[in-house]
Symmetry: C3
Subunit: 201 residues, 3 copies
């Protein structure tokens, strides 16, 4: 979660926000996905607001990044790895919480995915970017895959602890392999434009 906060804070620094802005965007990146999940499930007030540890860790991570961001850039690889681990954990816990709230399987997968990508969506909206997760790379798709695995496994009455660990690991591995191999989701076929007459040249 601290890594998500650092990613948000890092986006804030890149946009030259002030200390408050950097911390706010960091907190949104870290806690936003869980807060949206809790709003969708009616679990209010959201967990992130009633358990101060989450808030404090997110704020501290963002403040650290604010002061140390030049050094942070050198850790880019480590950050991506930790981020992939967070992706897996957020997906699994979000999907399980939705299933426990009696959301049907398909809806629970959506909730699980939104738990994982919601913070990044909020971060990108606040910093004026089209969300990166919508543009490229296998990120949300890895999350959806994990969420689907959880939904099927719960339906088959799998045990919780190995399920959580196993699926989080699955999402992590898919994400890391996708990064290494530069897998991309397909982009739209280009529209057939009239274009300049090739015979004119």
């Amino acid at each position: 979660m601290a890594v998500f906060a650092a990613s948000g804070a890092s986006a804030g620094v890149a946009k030259r926000l002030d200390l408050f802005g950097v911390v706010f965007v960091g907190a949104v990146a870290a806690l936003g996905g869980g807060i949206i999940r809790d709003l969708l499930l009616g679990a209010v007030p959201p967990y992130a607001l009633t358990h101060w540890v989450y808030l404090v860790v997110a704020v501290l991570a963002a403040i650290l990044l604010f002061w140390l961001h030049p050094q942070f850039n050198r850790l880019r690889r480590t950050v991506l790895v930790l981020d992939a681990a967070g992706l897996g954990l957020f997906t699994v816990t979000g999907t399980l919480k939705a299933l426990d709230a009696r959301v049907p399987a398909l809806g629970a997968c959506v909730v699980g995915m939104i738990t994982a990508i919601g913070g990044g969506l909020g971060r990108d909206l606040l910093t004026g970017e089209i969300p990166i997760v919508l543009r490229r790379e296998i990120y949300a798709v890895a999350s959806l895959l994990g969420a689907g695995t959880v939904a099927v496994a719960v339906h088959l009455h799998a045990q919780r602890s190995p399920l959580i660990a196993g699926t989080a690991l699955l999402v992590f591995v898919v994400r890391i392999v996708a990064l290494r191999r530069r897998w991309q989701a397909p982009t739209p076929p280009p529209a057939v434009l009239p274009g300049p007459d090739p015979g004119a040249s």
Copy 2:
């Protein structure tokens, strides 16, 4: 609803999002208004997440558009007509659901309108545009007119079925006529700027 999904997917394609992004923006455009309505009314988990048909239709419509968008552009007129029909239905069902949840008339109109325009707002925010509904054309105003009609009719104990059909038709007709006649809401009077001295020329 599939038309709203197609409008979202179309916006995603225009921004060169990948397949996941196109489907996500399509789903937000189709289901976002209803989800905001349910959050405002405390009807959680939202209907769109507990009834998989909605999710599947939205996703399929977006995927279809992803592959077929060059052809889709030729159907522009049909799309605007279907979109106007969706505007009417979303407005009426949203307003009724709010009244049933004991929201007072004025607030229920707002909820009905947000049900109708919320998906488009989400679509435009995710693709980095100032929402089109705020900038021009009679769109939200047609929706508000329908919502007001519903609120008055319910107050007068009108029967449900003719009310739904009649008001949805009303919104549809207003929207279509507004499109044909290019009706626009007024824009702000320009500020009186000092400007270059006209005597100088």
Copy 3:
């Protein structure tokens, strides 16, 4: 609250939105913070939708601004003062409502601050700007200070009426002094870039 509506409407006018857009952004700026607060606390339907006075005042203020905005620009100083007063009141009522809903102190401060800055966040997102509150000036920090004061005072069983008046005044004064003295939150230290070799010139 009318001042928040005017700030939203003003942003809408600056972006050349139509009358509906100006009113909508005005209403979001005025009521958005309170609506987010109520969603986070599960107090649905939100207060702003069930008490029509709020809605009507916000809409009227936005319409007035739509017609009178050239004159409005001359009142800039008055507007900043009234806005600071709103900042204080929104912070205090938001924090108290969260504490009454049994949100722990730290979370309640966040809710109070979001009540105060949420409308401005919504306004800036709808008009395509990176939220001003994240970029500069002591605005949210004044709000947080007030929220913290409320949380501590409630813990010490302070009386409500003087607490509300006193803390709202405190936020107001901090904000006004910050404006006068041009206090700013710190911005990030610049990254050490390789840069052009100075010896080359």
